[in-house]
Every structure is written in C-alpha cells, then in structure tokens.
Amino acid sequence: MKLKVVIGLAFFLFSISSALSADGEYAVAKIKPGLLPDAHVVKRMAETRYEVISFSKTRLYNKYAITIMNENGDRFARMYEFYDGLRSVKSIEGKLYDANGKMIKALKSKDIEDRSNVSEISLMEDSRIKTHNFYYKVYPYTVEYETVVEFNNTYMFYPWLPQPEENYAVEKSSMTVSCPSWFTFQYKMFNYNGAPIETEVKGEKKYTWQVSDMPSITKEFANPDWQFLTTCVYFKPDKFEIGGYKGSMSSWNELGLFQLQLNKGRDKLPDAVKQQVHHLTDGVSDAKEKIRVLYEYLQKNTRYISIQLGIGGYQPFDAAYVAKNAYGDCKALSNYMYALLKEANINSCYVEIKAGDGEQFFMPDFSTDQFNHIILCVPLATDSIWLECTSQTLPAGYLAGFTSNRYALLVNETGGNLVRTPKYGVKENTQIRNIKAILDKEGTMQITASTTFSGLQQDDYHSLINNLSKDKVKESLQEQFDFQTYDILQFDYREVKSTLPVIRERLEISVSNYATITGKRLFITPNIMTRANQKIAIEKERKYDIVLGLEYADTDSIEIELPGGYAPEAIPQDMTISSKFGSYRSSVKLLGNKLLCYRHYEQYSGRFPARDYAELAKFYETIYNADRSRVVLVKSETTPK
C-alpha cells in the first residue's frame, strides 16, 4: 500500500515537471503576477560580469533576457553595443522565444547592423554601433542576448542599473565584478539592501550584487532623479590606465591630477598669438578687464567644432592646433583660453562639469568622471570668473542654465577640487514688464510692452537675438504669443552684457479681437502677456518627493485704456497666495476708463514631501485660473456725451 502511494506521488511530481518543461524557461506563464501591472517589459534574467584582466584590459560580459509584453516595449527588444577606440565588441549572440518560451530563431551574424554613431554636434567621432532586432510582433515574446565587450582601459567602469526605465519590471538581475587581488575598487549603492557577496579564490576576487522581483515603477511629475527610485550601483577603480596614462579615482584631487596629466604641455601658444595677448592686455591693469578682453578675443577668433577620437574624448587638442585652425571643442577651447590667460599672467582652472539645463544627478561623495563638458574658472581674490569657452556670445562670467548651480571639478596645479558653480535664484532670474495698451470699440488692442529680462530668464532671448537675423526674430515673435490674431508692429532688443546679463525688450503689437465685445458687454482679460501654463493632474496617490528646480520672479504692471461708455459688471478679486512653492499676488482696478492690473509671481526651488502634492496642484491651478480671469463691462445705460 505504502509503496503505491509513493509511486503515485512520484508519478504526480513527474507529470508536473513535464508539464512545465513543455514550456521553456522564458514562458510568460512563469512570470510572477505581481510583476505584470504596468510592465511593458519584464527582464527575466540578467547576468553582467565585469572582468579585470589587467589595467589596460577588461571585459564586460552581459547576458540578459527580456520579455516584451506589448508594443510599447518594442524598443527594448533592440540590442545595441557601442564601440570606438577605447572598446570593441567581441561577440554577440541572440535568441528569440515565443510566449511559451519556445525558441523560434537565433541571431545570424550577418543580421547585425554596423552603423556610424557620430552625434549631431560633432564633425567627427570614432563612435560606432552594432545593433540587432528580431522585429517580432506577436506579444508577448522574449529576446535573449549575450554580448562581450572588451575595453583597453580601466577608466570606463559602467554602473549597474538593472531597471533602466519606468514600466519595466525585473525578475532577477545580478552584477559581478571579478578582478585579481591587486585590483581595488569602490562602489556606491542606491536602494540596495545589504552588501555584495564577496569571495576570493586563488588570488581572484569576486563581488556579486543581485536583485529579484522588482515591480515596474511609474514616474510622477517632478519626481527625484531615477537613481533614487530604483536600485543601482556605481563603481570606481582606485587606480586605472587609459591610452597610456595612469591615474587614480581615490579622491577628487586624484581625478584632477589625472586630467592635469592629460593637459600637460598642451598650452603652448604660437608666438604670433602670444604677441596678440600682450598687445591686447599689457596696457590693461584690472584683472577682470584683462579676462574680458581675452575672452572676447577667444570668441572672435574661434568657433566650436567637435572631433572626438579615442583618448581625444578626454584629452584636449593643444593650443597650437586651436590657434592654427581657429576651432576646437569644449576641451580644446577651454585649454586654449587657459593658455591665453596664462600668457597674460592670469592663472585659471580647467573645470569638468555635467552640462545640461536643469539640475542633474550627481554624486559629490563618489569621485568618478560624471562629467560631459569643460568650462574654465578664473579664481580671483574676491570672487571667481566663470567662462563658457564654446559660446560665441555669452558675457564673461555668466554661465547660463547650461552649467550654473551644480557641482564641478576644478583642476588646478595641485590636483582637483570639487566646487559649486554660481546659482541664479529668484533675485537674479527676473522678468519685469510694463504694458500700456489701448483698446478700441471693435476689441482691437494696441500694446506697447517694455520688458527687462535678467539671469536665466534672458537665456532664450539671448539665443534669439544673437543666433537669428532680424527677419527671423520677427518671424519667431509672430508665432510665439498666445493671442488669437496679431501683428508685430515694432520690436527692439538691447543687451547689457555682464556677469548677470540683462536684455531689454520693447514690443509694439496689434491684437485683433483681444476683447470680446457682444451686444452690450465687453469681456477682457487684463493679464495680457504673462500667464502661468503649469497645471498638473490630480493624483490619488503620490509616491515620491517633489523636486522643483528653477527659481524665478515675474512682475507685470499693466494699464489698459478702454473705449468710453462702459461700467464694470465683474472684476476679479485681488489675490494673494504665499506658499512654500512660491508666492502670487494680483490685483485689478478700474480707474475712470483705465484698467490697472498688477501681477507678481515668485517660484521657489526645493524638495518637498509627497504629501504636499495636492497643495502644489491647487497652487498651480489657482494661479492658472487667476491669470485668465476676466473683467466684464456693460455699456452704461446713458452714454456720456
């Protein structure tokens, strides 16, 4: 009897496992239901291994399988590997599976596309891409790829980011670093519980991180950087080699020393340029004035051309090259400016920075190359002058939204030093507007608007007037305003270049039907030109902190002369809001036939808890509505003579 039971059980077990084996390991049925909500793709497995062979040879092995749940996940089905002078693709294998996990097809090497990957901003790069796609469309399906990339350096040590985007669930993923015992490195973990598993066998060390069952993430309005929402690990070698150079990432100082090494001896100017420097600056005593003169010389005599080949992605073309060709990229132009200043006995620092509008993720406590741009800083006794050397038009000492208010690595003779670039806040980023307008009986309004933009608020106007011809500026103005039908009659811009630049604008605009005039009423929105556009959806649940970046202030004073014979019916109430997100004040008054309107808005930056979301939504909506509120006037019963 007993035996029979055991046999029966064994048979039962067998039948289960055979039922499962009919489905392959990537069968969609095997995905835990908890991972499916909102997931366009599910990473079934990923094993990444970074193997250090020597300081000038490492390999990155990557094997992963991704199930594409629907067509929104299609873009993740594409495999791509980049290569250039610093890395090469050693092998690529791929397989395609159907929903049951049955293999349909294997990649053939002739199907791998090999394309140039030169970015749009560059004249030339050695960057190329190998890419492949199965182009399958029966959902769900799974792609599995296995790639090996070899590096000829230990400088490029990619972070591990198992979950790269939203709507992306992860079943399991692991990262292993294996290296000889003489190789040491550091890591920084985000949202990782515990420590990596460490083993050492015969002089080879291994560190393994792993995650499993990560449900997909949905981004929210103004959420913190992605690294704070998911798990990731960043790495840095204590010592590294690249392109025949040796360096260390053990501190910001060390990283600075490495750059110093790359730049060494690249600041020699041709004699003719040296003479120019002396000719321009010898008679000038003020250091700031010297800097301005030389910066303008740079702007006049060079332009931005990007060429990135091998180590040239990190090492500037030398000063003589720039002098001869009159062009260079951010590295070459900054290095050239450094040389010009040096010739005038002014010491400056090459600055590594992560450029881009808005503040971005940065790890100040993890000294790695987190940068994508180079600027220059001239430390003076009282303050520092910052120079964006790729710009043909910016004033000396102003950084614009591209590089302001963030960490940067200052490289000086003794090494590197992490500093912050200037912040432009609510006092600097202003827009002050005065409008005088006359409305006629048909509802057509003649507007004269005088506006002063300052700080980051002038950045767009700076580009507009410096990069476009007058005709094009007019075309742009004719498209940009929120009026029904209008014509730009006159426009004029004056730019005041300084460390806090200012642009003054004067516009004359004729707007048809600005006011709606019906049988006896006149509807008019007194806030003519500065209306808040931000409105955010009401969310039931907010998960993450709210991060608000840009700070600015707008002030509008408006005077509208109305046609005679109207009396007020409805006038918006004065409004004052002050909150942690900003403040708002508006008032409308009718004095005789003149409508007087005042609006002041300030927006603050900061990080706010998720529970503040409803308040923020309300803040935006109230202002949105207030900015569009109307004055209604009715024709007086007795028309005054």
Partner: protein
C-alpha cells in the same frame, strides 16, 4: 482657386538663350582684397553667409571596366558674413557604395581667405589631419571637413571631383540652399549614345539655358579581358547643356506646406535610353512599358507571379472556415498589419523576397505590402500594387514614369465592384484606409492596364462631431454629458496615444482641462479596438454650485479654436492642408435654476469665398429655458494660393473671435 500650380516642367532642349556667352569666374584662388568689399549683399540684407558661386559640371567618359563613368566637378565659393554663417564652413560630400563599386573622391582642395590688416591671408585645409571619412552604413560614406581659420568676413572656397560608375544615377543639382546664392550653374555634357530626361522645379527663372554640340571621342577598355578586342574607341556628337540661375533667395519654411522640397529650385536627371553604338535600350518609354518592366522585375512583380504555394501554411490556419469573401480579405489585411514591422516607409524596390519577409517578420513598405498583395492573389482576390509618392517625398509627375519620384507601395483590391486601398504598414490603421502621407496626387497601379489614379488630400473629409447636454442637477449646479466623435485620423492618433499611455492619461488630461472643481464621471471610450470606426468619447461632468450674481458661459466648452492657425502676417508659398474637414459642435443648455438669460452671442455665418470653399456657422437661439447652440466649420478645399492667404487668415480670425463669446446668465431678482 481653380488652377493648381504645376511644379514640373520638361525642359525643351532646343532653347538657346541670348546671354549664353556670359561666364562666371571659377578659377581657384582668385581672391583679392576687393573680394571682401561687400559686407551686406542686396539679395538678402540679413544673410549670415552668401554663396558667391556654386558651379557643377558632369561629363561622361569611357572607363577601364568596359563601360562609362560620370565625372562630376564641383566648385563653390562662399562669403561668410558673421558668426551665424559659420555652418557654411562645414562640408559633407556623400559617396555611394555598392559592393566593390564606390564613388571616388579626388582633387579635393579647400582654402580659407581672411582679410587681415588689408592683406589676404590664406589658410589651407590640412588634408591629412582634418578630412574625415565616416562610413554611415554599407551604402553610404560621407567625406567631411570644416574650413580652418574661419573668422567673420572670411571667404571659403573648395573644389573636388567625384568619379562614379553608376551612370543611371546622376545627382540632382540644387540651385537653392540654406544661404542665398548669387550664381549657381550646372553643366552636363551628354554624348548622343546616352539619353537622359531632365526635370526642373522651382519658381526662379533661368538666367541662361543653353545647348551647344561638338564631337568627341570615347575610349573604353575592359581591363579584365584578355583579347585586344576589349578595347573600343569611337567618336560621337556631344551636347553641352548649361543652366544658370542668378540671385536665388533662401527658401522659407512655413506651416501648412506638404514639403519644402516641392518648392526648391533644382534640376533632376533620369537615364532614359542607350543608343547606337551601344546596344539600344529604352529605360523610360511610357507608363505601360515601365509598369510592364516592373511587373517582370525579380525584385518586384515576379514576387507576385510566382507560385507562392508556401503561403498556404500561413493562410490556411488563418482563414480556416471563414467563408465570407470580404471577411477573408479583412483577416488577411489585419494579419499582415499586426504581425510585421515596417523598418522603412520609403522605397519601391524589394531588398528581400517576400518569402523572407514572412520569415523575418520585418520589411520595408514595399516588401510588406507586396506580401499582402501576394496573399490576396493567392486567395484569388483581385489585387494590384500601386506606386505613389508620399507627401514628404514630394510631387510625382504623372506623365513620365520616373521611378525615383515614387517611394511608396500600397495595394488596391476590388471585391464585388468595390475597390479598397490597403496599407499594412501602419499599426491600428483600419481596413480600407490609407495613412495621410499617401494622399499626394498621382498614383499608378502596377497591372496590365497601368491604371492611373489621383489620391488627393481634399478626398479626405475629417468629420468631427461633438454634442453636449447641459442641465440643472439636483444639487443647485449644472452638469451634463459630453459625446464626441473625432475625425477618423484624429481617432487613429488618439488610439496610438491611448496605446502608449493608457486611457487613464486621456481621462486625466480632460480632468486637468476642466479643473479640479469639476467632477468628471462615467468616462467611456467606444470603438477603441474597432479600427475601421471613429472613436466615441463620452463622459458626464458636474460643475460646482455657483452663487455668483452673473454666470458667463462659453458654449464651446473648451472646444474650438483659441488661436488663429495662420499666425504669420505674410505668405510666400501656397497653403497646403492635409485634409478637408467639417467640425460640428451642438449644445443644448438648460438655463441654470434661479437665473435668466441676460445676453446671448449673435448668430453669424461666414463664407470663405463665393465658391463655397469653406463656411463657418455659429447659430444660437433660446426657447423658454432651453438654449440651442451649434457651431460648424467646414473647409472643403485643401490648396490655397498665397494671394488667398489673407482671406484664409481673416476667416479663421472670425472663427476664433466668435468662438470666444459668452452667454450671460443673471440671477433672477
């Protein structure tokens, strides 16, 4: 309105201009102080750079492969006036590669001239260090360089030669570009044994158009051959054709243009025949001949005439027991649409067999639609491929079968006397619909009769209907129901967006537009998966109670135009709209309880012009406590001349104005 512009004109070769003797200086390096004198050019006072001379010439020579090569010489001089013209110093020369054959570049010269202290200073391009070749993919490489030492006011000058063995591909010559051009000239020396057809496009007239004949000898060597007979030499007549345009302005980008490409001044060439002493052959005789060639081509028609018995493995399980013919047709269409990825929406020739398309699940537009066509024919439907040119590819010329003018293949099928156009490359596109890009004029069926057809944007009528009922609720406020049917293409757009972001996102956007105080409920989207139909969007809304003395209500409820779509005050090019449309909103409003109507907007009818190209109706009336409102904009034409622009702008001015008006309710006393 009645006449359309014709952009293409076939050049008559016998024309000889009076100014034919006029020459332009193309001598390299002939730059002196005076060359810099002009600071502002009268052709365009706001130009950042001006092309002084752009000179190209093509001639044909015998080569060592026993055939002919095209020798193209290009010379260009540009005056860079300010920093914003620096891009004119960046040069790209695309070179075609096919297997072992590639277009070769030689004799590249490039020099920058600056005027420094009254003297001309030359800087030569360092060809070793600063000329780059970027291999884009297996068919294209680009040689790139930028001029050295470019300063404001610099003159840059380059010349080069390319040698190409692809005589069936002569690069077009564009007279017009990113900067104004003072003198643009193209020469084509054409031996009598080759025939090319020339196409010219653009509004600017030729300054010189000239043709001279001479005799020249040609030598062909076949270096692969072993016998002496692989050497051929003969003399024939050669025609030197010359075209010059002077003072060509920059083309202006404007809204509502099908493609700017249709308006550029340019010359294009198509090899039409080989003549004696070569073995005579006609490439471009007539449409019937071209279509016949295409039907017999291995990379096109042969795919359809083969047995294709392998299709049954897919079609049998797909169609199973379905007996209704139309349903079978629809199933095949949906199968191809839903299971294949289109990797390129341009190109008419196949790069792979349709059997391979079935295997790899991907293909270009022609590959996928020919597979569809083959499947339909296999199931004995009448189906033919149809060639067309998409809107961004430009106008195709109906009279001549120039294949390079076509870039798209669709399928026309006829069942029980009804014809359908099919394109299986667009996800969620309904059976019998074509993407908007296909409506671009001439199209040609690849069948025995080479049927010609017109697919015009005005054939599409985007009809949008919105209906609202607004009544008093029992909580002292008003609420109602919104029902909307967007046009078909707007529905397609919404389907795609819903697919990407979900229905919730759409609902949230609507809530956002109404504001948080309004309650939106019973949100329903109808026909989401019924791709042949328009969507239906329905929801209830409820406004918060109102205690104001006066209520101002815009009966458009956020629909309609807020801005004039024609913002620009002037217009250079014709206005080309993607479709005709008819938008109706119909609203029934119950006067809010405790209020009475103080003022209603006035009704209005505006016609676009006497011929009835468009009409705007705004009708509102009150009967008891009920207000009926209806607004309609109907535009039945899609092409307007620049002269009609003001009228169009004014018409929409009326629309925007009227649609911003309010109904005024006053509290009863």
């Amino acid at each position: 309105m009645k006449c359309k512009l014709f952009f293409f004109v076939i050049i008559q070769l016998f024309f000889v201009a009076a100014r034919a003797q006029e020459k332009v200086n193309t001598k390299f390096g002939d730059v002196n102080e005076k060359s810099f004198a002009t600071k502002i050019y009268s052709i365009d006072s706001s130009a950042n750079a001006v092309v002084i001379t752009d000179f190209g010439s093509t001639k044909i020579e015998g080569n060592s492969k026993g055939w002919f090569s095209l020798i193209f010489k290009h010379y260009k001089r540009v005056h860079i006036l300010n920093k914003n013209g620096y891009d004119a110093a960046n040069v790209s020369i695309p070179l075609y590669v096919s297997g072992l054959d590639e277009v070769k570049l030689s004799n590249l010269k490039a020099v920058t001239y600056n005027l420094e202290n009254g003297k001309v200073v030359e800087t030569k391009l360092d060809q070793k260090l600063n000329v780059f070749k970027e291999q884009i993919d297996k068919n294209w490489a680009i040689v790139k360089f930028t001029f050295p030492n470019v300063k404001e006011g610099a003159i840059v000058e380059f010349e080069y030669t390319t040698i190409s063995d692809f005589i069936n591909h002569v690069e077009p010559w564009e007279f017009q570009g990113d900067y104004p051009v003072l003198w643009s000239e193209y020469n084509f020396s054409l031996p009598d044994f080759l025939g090319y057809v020339f196409f010219t496009q653009g509004y600017k007239k030729y300054h010189i158009k000239d043709r001279k004949t001479k005799t020249e000898s040609f030598r062909l060597i076949n270096s692969n051959g072993t016998s002496a007979s692989d050497f051929l030499s003969f003399s024939v007549g050669v025609a030197d054709n010359r075209w010059v345009i002077k003072d060509i302005p920059v083309l202006k980008e404007e809204n509502f243009i099908t493609t700017l490409n249709n308006h550029t001044n340019k010359l294009e060439f198509q090899l039409s025949e080989l003549r004696d002493p070569l073995t005579p052959r006609v490439f471009m005789a007539s449409w019937p001949k071209a279509v016949e060639d295409l039907m017999n081509a291995e990379f096109f028609g042969q795919q359809l005439t083969k047995d294709n018995g392998w299709l049954k493995e897919v079609l049998n399980p797909l169609l199973k027991s379905e007996t209704n013919k139309l349903e079978r047709l629809k199933k095949i269409y949906a199968f191809v649409r839903d299971n294949f990825t289109c990797v390129s929406h341009s190109g008419i020739y196949l790069n792979q067999s349709i059997k391979n398309v079935l295997k790899t699940k991907k293909g270009t537009v022609s590959e996928i639609n020919l597979l569809l066509c083959a499947m339909l024919r296999y199931e004995e439907f009448q189906a033919d491929p149809v060639l067309l040119s998409t809107r961004s590819h430009g106008v195709a010329y109906a009279d001549y079968p120039i294949m390079s003018k076509y870039n798209y293949v669709i399928v026309k099928t006829t069942i029980d006397g009804t014809s359908y156009f099919l394109d299986a490359t667009e996800p969620r596109l309904g059976f019998g619909y074509l993407p908007l890009r296909c409506y671009n004029g001439h199209a040609r069926a690849i069948n025995a009769s080479a049927d010609s057809m017109e697919l015009e944007s005005k054939m599409i009528n985007e009809q949008k209907f919105t209906s609202l009922f607004v009544i008093n609720d029992n909580k002292g406020s008003i609420g109602g129901r919104m029902q909307q049917t967007p046009g078909y293409y707007a529905s397609l757009d919404l389907r795609n967006r819903i697919k990407e972001n979900g229905v919730e996102k759409l609902q949230k956007d609507i809530q956002k537009a109404f504001g948080s105080a309004v309650v939106i409920s019973n949100f329903i989207i109808d026909s989401l998966d019924n791709y042949e139909s328009k969507l239906g969007i329905t929801y209830d809304f409820d406004f918060p109670p109102n205690s104001e003395d006066i209520i101002y209500l815009n009966p458009m409820f956020g629909e309609g135009y807020r801005d004039n779509p024609f913002k620009s005050a002037q217009r250079l090019n014709p206005v080309e709209m993607p479709y005709a449309f008819d938008e109706v909103i119909s609203v029934q409003i119950e006067v809010p309880q405790g209020y009475e109507v103080d003022e209603l907007p006035q009704s209005l009818v505006v016609k676009l012009n006497e011929e009835g190209d468009g009409v705007f109706e705004y009708r509102i009336s009150q009967s008891g406590t009920n207000i009926s409102f209806r607004s309609r904009i109907k535009i039945s034409h899609t092409f307007f001349l620049p002269e009609e622009y003001d009228m169009l702008r004014e018409f929409f001015g009326h629309v925007v104005k009227k649609q911003s008006e309010h109904i005024v309710f006053k509290k009863k006393k």
